[in-house]
């Protein structure tokens, strides 16, 4: 039976090919489930309203109609909302990077009384979901006169316990000798931080930056609470809700708006996938 290894090996090879085929079938099924809804959204956004209700539903847009995109951009004010989102996100990302670098440097390189306890205080912020604080935070924002302003949208998010933790880990990887050598060269702490520590922690900074960008851009609850009528600070996520809410008969316009809102982020994902994954799993999964 074992005298001829030929059929045995052939059978093993066939089984392996079958397994690989099954794996690809599973992967492709998964890809259809994940991408299907987005694909159909793109197709629907390119159809005439009359074609939308057609049955069976069209799976390709043979005669793409781009005017829904123009409508979403101008009448749906998505152009303005995208700009507002860019400002809001830019402020939050920059603020989080700055405050996290400063605090993480202190926790990694400086000695001061209560350092450990204060670090625990920073970590404790991770235990309090933002949703738990909205009752008082909305009151704070309106009593500061920050309703419908970029301050109101961004100031509560200008610091992050997670970011401080992530950057502190990165700073602790920097060899102590480097700090001593820099001290001998006359570098003070601030110069060492900017010239040595920050450049060396660039991967962690990139991970935090992409993570903060994603979280800020996709915020929904807080912008809904602190922005109201008028388009001066309204973000794109709230704009999408309005597009759906006010133009019920214009599903195609709402879908065009959805595509406009999601495409920049899909580009971000493709370009910064590595940093994003590091940011999302940082600190939890090594």
């Amino acid at each position: 039976m074992a005298a001829d290894p030929g059929p045995e090996r052939r059978r093993a090879r066939r089984r392996r090919a079958w397994r690989t085929g099954a794996r690809y079938a599973l992967l492709t099924l998964g890809a259809v489930v994940v991408l299907g809804p987005l694909y159909l959204t793109v197709v629907n956004s390119l159809l005439l309203p009359s074609a939308l209700a057609q049955r069976p539903p069209p799976l390709v847009a043979l005669h793409p109609q781009w005017h829904d995109y123009a409508t979403a951009w101008t009448q749906g004010h998505l152009g303005i909302y995208l700009r507002n989102s860019a400002v809001q996100t830019g402020i939050i990302v920059a603020g989080q990077l700055v405050t996290s670098v400063l605090a993480a440097y202190a926790f990694a390189f400086l000695r001061f009384p209560l350092r450990r306890s204060l670090f625990v205080v920073f970590l404790a912020t991770l235990m309090i979901p933002f949703e738990v604080t909205i009752v008082t935070n909305t009151q704070t924002i309106s009593s500061l006169g920050w309703y419908n302003t970029f301050q109101g949208l961004t100031v509560p998010f200008l610091a992050t316990g997670f970011g401080t933790f992530l950057l502190r880990q990165a700073f602790l990887q920097i060899p102590r000798d480097l700090r001593e050598a820099a001290t001998l060269d006359g570098y003070g702490h601030l110069r060492f931080m900017l010239r040595v520590a920050v450049p060396l922690a660039r991967p962690a900074l990139a991970a935090l930056g992409v993570f903060s960008f994603l979280a800020a851009w996709n915020q929904y609850l807080w912008p809904l609470l602190v922005t109201g009528s008028g388009n001066n600070v309204r973000t794109v996520q709230i704009g999408l809700k309005l597009l759906q809410g006010t133009q019920v008969s214009h599903v195609d316009v709402a879908l065009a708006g959805t595509v406009i809102a999601v495409v920049p982020l899909l580009v971000l994902l493709v370009v910064f996938q590595k940093q994003l994954v590091r940011g999302l799993t940082g600190g939890a999964v090594k």
Binding site: R23, L27, G30, V34, L35, P37, L38, T41, P56, P57, S100, L102, A103, Y105, A106, L110, R111, F112, R115, L118, F122, M127, I128, P129, E131, V132, T133, V135, T136, T138, Q139, T140, P156, F157, L158, A159, G161, T164, L214, N218, Y220, L221, L224, L225, Q237, I238, L240, K241, Q244, L255, G257, A261, V262, L266, L276, V277, L280, T281, A284, V285
Partner: protein, 304 residues
């Protein structure tokens, strides 16, 4: 002789200066946390003791724990809590299992895997508003796909007291898949390949390898995933706001906790009651985290 005290003093001055710099560097973050995390968090416990006057302009008055007891025993709260827990049960296992299966399937050095990985990660960037609009259209009774497939309950799925919550759950699972896939893949990449290979050489089937080797080795990641997913599901808000909304026929069955908090602030305008609900949300989150810490301590030490 005289150098001693001087050197001693300069060292002390340098230490004081270092400490001052340390405090200065953490101060900006500490101010933000103080004003927008800790103060509102503690304020919940004070607000919960005060009842808002029925007419605007009148001061709220102290009622002690009476208000909390009233909120916690109200029909509306119990309904909201049941819906939230049901929702968690629908979303968490399904979201994690599908993410894990896709991660295992894509964890092979085969042609095209990078593309599949990007596709499976993609819903991590789709915001709740985007996801809600995408699924709202698919489930629409006129232009949607579900009705065409014969899944067209009456009243329409998003106004249906039975089906609205599962529909929101399906959308949430889809949106959560990206994060689930990324977390599971990161965990898998830490599983030593030679262990899996050894099991295969011993003649174990892929299914056996998955259940007997991959899942046990991944248990820390799976626990982490359960916590992340549960907290994520507890915080669900946007899809309910966009797809269901106040005044919907199915509203009471999809009134998840955060949505209830928002309505209590914005519509009922009773911050004291909203504070009670916020404390409940905090305790639920805390509970999940503590359970996970216990489990991880007990079960995950073998990894060394």
């Amino acid at each position: 002789m005289s150098a001693g005290p001087v050197r001693h003093r300069t060292r002390r001055v340098r230490a004081a200066r270092e400490a001052a710099l340390g405090y200065a560097l953490i101060l900006p973050a500490l101010c933000v946390f103080g004003a927008f995390v800790f103060y509102p968090f503690i304020e919940n416990f004070r607000l919960a003791l005060y009842r808002t006057a029925p007419y605007p302009g009148l001061p709220s008055h102290y009622v002690g724990l009476q208000q909390a007891a009233q909120v916690l025993s109200s029909q509306g709260f119990l309904q909201s809590l049941v819906s939230t827990v049901l929702f968690v049960v629908m979303v968490v296992p399904a979201g994690l299992v599908i993410g894990l299966v896709l991660a295992v399937a894509a964890h092979r050095a085969l042609r095209g895997m990078a593309i599949y990985r990007t596709i499976f990660s993609s819903t991590v960037v789709t915001s709740v508003a985007v996801s809600a609009l995408v699924f709202g259209t698919l489930m629409d009774p006129v232009v949607g796909f579900l009705p065409w497939l014969g899944l067209n309950p009456s009243p329409p799925i998003l106004q249906n007291t039975t089906w609205a919550l599962p529909a929101i759950a399906v959308m949430t699972i889809w949106q959560f898949l990206g994060l689930s896939f990324i977390v599971m893949s990161a965990g898998l990449s830490a599983v030593p390949e030679d262990v899996l290979e050894a099991a295969r050489v011993d003649g174990a089937s892929e299914v056996t390898v998955f259940w007997r080797v991959t899942v046990p080795l991944l248990s820390p990641t799976i626990f982490f995933g359960v916590v992340v997913a549960t907290i994520y599901a507890f915080q669900t808000f946007g899809q309910v706001d966009i797809l269901i909304g106040y005044g919907n026929a199915a509203f009471e069955h999809v009134n998840l906790l955060v949505y209830d908090i928002l309505n209590t602030i914005e519509i009922a305008k009773t911050p004291g009651q909203a504070a009670v609900l916020s404390i409940v949300l905090f305790l639920l989150t805390l509970g999940v985290t503590l359970v996970q810490l216990r489990l991880v301590e007990r079960r995950v030490h073998y990894g060394g």
